[in-house]
Assembly symmetry: C2
Homo-oligomer: 550 residues x 2
């Protein structure tokens, strides 16, 4: 008995593309003599389809694609993920299903029981949870087929409340009563740099508990914010990792059951380097956003600071330097080195650049507004005008040449609202909006690991928005080490201010930072989608009321 | 036995404010000799608290506020809505509860069983559903206490799939076995102009089915996008409306059980006028956004078109003319009447206005971009620059004077992407982003019902963005009557293109419009929050993947 693990990169709503990928892998598996090829969760429509699931024609296309793929399954079976209709007259209209296809037919269907409905997940919005469980006998093996979260029944509810289990049902506990020989898990598990080991340990714990092997098939590639890291994993019946597929790459691998079950462990212990994985995640996320949107060209406002420098490197790597352009937009407040540093980087990366000084439109605005402003002193208004003039220029080149503006704001800035709406917060996609400033430096170090791509001066100088003379970030913000630590505790770990202070942070700083985070929800509401690399990114996974008192 | 219905306007996270409102109503009810005062769903934290529910300190404040209110309940009992802890070791940490408070204690707690998780609702994200049900004996009456959706068990799943029930449980069916004397329903039911009768009929059907009266207590006022219309309703045991509280206003009314049960029906049949209710909803939504954010001043870009004219009227009514300013920003393409019409309206409304011609900054951009554009022909780029120059001016005055920019885009434009991101799509709040253009005209007619506030010429002229010479909306869009009909069917009713065409719409027009809707998801992703008046508004209630093939 041979299993094939197919870790592929699906595209939401691209039924013909997904089908082609799947059929190619089926052919490859057949050549390898495989009995069963396993694809990942909701591979037919792509994940997450969100409210497209409310459309009847979308579901009909899922059904039709499943039927077409079933016909390809001659001499081999396949497990695919797709929404299917709930035939009961009560409950949500759909299930999130794993379908076992063979010789033109759907032989068996398992429905997801544990529907994640937290952070970026909204599965209970669409799906009815399964309540009955049965193993499926396939070529003499009893398969326990589960879908992603179905194996996460023991996860604690991840917040400041006392620890407890999020779910009241354990699908594997019920399936175990039917003596399965192997656990198959099809997943759509997005990358988060803090959750890699947690995920591995869940599969290991199930193998150990039930004394059977586990095959978990994840997908790779990105759909807008969500980046799937692949890393599909095969665990033997003793809970040792038998093999793991690569991070962020497609792969189709075939294994025999006997080898998986108790065979020699041939995977060496890997040291997980989170910065290199975050780098891969961002490049994958950016590339797929363009490929899947049918886009090619991008443009970045290059300030001479570290954030836009890092983004330019990521874009050149993900899209090819010939598909990236840079726009340098110095002002009366820009330091000389800002332009020379930016030019140096653009030249190193072979990225086309233009320089437009923003003085003319900026002073046109100043003049036009003078009668309305009636002698009032310059303040943040004039700083914002500069940032917005730059956004107009970027968007104009974007419109004229058909490029997408890449947003270069980092998570620390976005958190405290240190940015201008419709100014530097503009863009089609935020590359590093889930990367804290301290990690921006780490990523810059990673980019420079072999040769000095980002000029040393960009890395070493004090962060500044250069919107007024001698302005530095630290004028209005705490040191980034301190800031990021508070942000992480408040945003990712959801600790109350009182606990962050109790654990050693300066009270006034904590209260000031939290006030800034809470106050700036309205800005983030209008921010572009953010490539998600953490367990709590700004965007769809974090839903805050705007009109609220904190 | 006397009941008091308290229809109040709560503010998310404003525990002291909500408590004050509640305690005042308790005093009023005591004076009226009431035995039980009923408040609405989640009145303690305000609705919807969203991810604030993940914060331990937020829940602690709920607990504490409930305790404080319980102490006010001397000689009277109160039913309040609050999140409470799930004490089981498995499942979500919270329930959405109705708590009966009396003499300093929580005497009884009912938890919500049916947790709406569709459109703008995410309740399963936070709450464990209740599975046991019991009536509560209070002063000789058996109360069936339910929470909002708990009575909506029979609602069909609202889409193109075959009809069926969304829920597998009927809380009232279970409570009915314990012979209740009255159904109490505490609600947070947002306004939608298509659902007023549906909602009434649900309560009527329950009264008829179980032959007991129903008291449903809704809230009023708005929290960002969501506008609660009040209209709390009391139905007698024959299913006749005994009384209904006003739409969009606070009210505290006391009734005796005997009168409610079978007393004379003294409410006259009301003709529901949806345009007048939409008008009230928008004024309420706008006013509460400002009041609850602690804001006072607003600014609107006044173009001389009907959308901004309507918005200026709404703003003057909601905020007071002295708190609204208008900015007129004509360009080389503006017609003379655009300015004169806008000025006339501003004068009628006594709204302060300034005029800034955008020529200077616009031509500064043209000059600066010329070398980069290298002789390429004018196109949508230059149109967008004009819209964005206006946004900069609006935001600049907003920054300098501390006003909020009110967005004036309508739903028809937003749907087809007929607007400029960071240009006319900018603003802190979208007033009419859920109002189709054809309803914009109806609302303008309503505003002018007694006297001609909006100049006739603004209403009569052909819609134009005036971004190039002789440009009219109909150059690139179908007639708004046709467009809005297609939009309504695709967005609100979620009909597939094939069915819209089958039912009579022109095929090419339908396909073109739907392509525009799908293509422009990326623009709407960054739009401001939209006051919601329909059953499907853009924003949190409509979640579409950006990188998707349609």
């Amino acid at each position: 008995m041979k299993f094939t693990v197919a870790q592929l990169n699906y595209h939401i709503g691209n039924f013909s593309g997904n089908k082609e990928l799947i059929c190619k892998a089926i052919q490859k598996a057949k050549s390898a003599g495989s009995d069963l090829i396993i694809f990942s969760e909701l591979c037919i429509p792509g994940y997450p389809p969100l409210d497209l699931l409310d459309r009847l024609d979308f579901i009909e296309k899922c059904d039709q694609t499943v039927q077409e793929i079933a016909k390809e399954c001659t001499g081999i079976a396949a497990i695919v993920g797709s929404p299917t209709r709930n035939k009961m007259t009560e409950g949500k209209k759909l299930f999130n299903s794993a379908l076992l296809l063979s010789e033109g037919e759907v032989l068996y269907s398992a429905n997801k029981a544990l529907l994640p409905t937290y952070d970026i997940f909204d599965e209970y919005r669409y799906f009815e949870p399964q309540k009955q469980f049965s193993v499926f006998l396939f070529k003499g093996l009893r398969l326990a087929i589960t879908i992603c979260e179905d194996l996460w029944d023991e996860q604690p509810f991840d917040n400041e409340f006392e620890k407890s289990r999020l779910y009241t049902v354990s699908p594997m506990e019920k399936l175990a009563r039917q003596n399965p020989d192997i656990i198959i898990n099809i997943a759509a598990s997005p990358f988060s740099y803090t959750k890699i080991e947690t995920r591995e340990n869940i599969f290991i714990s199930k193998a150990v508990k039930y004394k059977i092997p586990v095959i978990s098939v994840n997908q790779t590639g990105a759909n807008t914010e969500l980046i799937f890291d692949g890393a599909s994993i095969i665990i033997n019946e003793k809970g040792k990792i038998f093999n793991q597929l690569p991070f962020f790459e497609e792969a189709v691998e075939t294994y025999s059951f006997e080898n998986i079950k108790s065979g020699t462990i041939f995977l060496e212990e890997q040291k997980i380097d989170s910065i290199s994985l975050i780098h891969k995640a961002l490049v994958t996320g950016l590339r797929d956003y363009f490929v899947k949107s049918g886009l090619r060209n991008s443009i970045i406002g290059l300030s001479g600071g570290i954030d836009s420098a890092l983004c330019l490197c990521l874009a050149a790597e993900a899209l090819g330097h010939e598909n990236v352009r840079a726009l340098l937009m110095p002002s009366r407040y820009s330091s000389d080195h800002s332009v020379s540093d930016a030019v140096a980087l653009a030249k190193t990366l072979k990225v086309q650049y233009d320089i437009i000084n923003i003085e003319k439109p900026f002073s046109a605005f100043e003049e036009d507004l003078a009668p309305v402003f009636n002698g009032m002193k310059p303040d943040v208004t004039e700083e914002n005008i500069q940032a917005r003039v730059r956004a107009i220029l970027l968007m104009a080149v974007s419109n004229k040449y058909g490029c997408i503006v890449l947003n270069t704001s980092n998570k620390s800035e976005a958190a405290v609202g240190y940015g201008t709406l419709y100014g530097d917060m503009a863009g089609g996609l935020s590359l590093i909006g889930d990367v804290y400033k301290t990690d921006v430096y780490r990523l810059a170090g990673f980019i420079n690991r072999n040769s000095k791509i980002i000029p040393e001066h960009i890395i070493k100088k004090l962060p500044s928005a250069e919107l007024r003379p001698d302005q530095f970030d630290t004028d209005s913000l705490p040191d980034y080490n301190i800031l990021d630590s508070i942000l992480y505790q408040y945003i990712e770990l959801q600790k109350p201010a009182s606990r962050i202070i109790k654990e050693g942070a300066d009270k006034d700083t904590v209260l000031k930072v939290i006030r800034m985070i809470d106050f700036n929800e309205y800005k983030r509401y209008q921010a572009p989608p953010v490539l998600r690399i953490s367990s709590k990114a700004f965007g769809a996974g974090r839903r805050m009321p705007l009109v609220a008192r904190h």
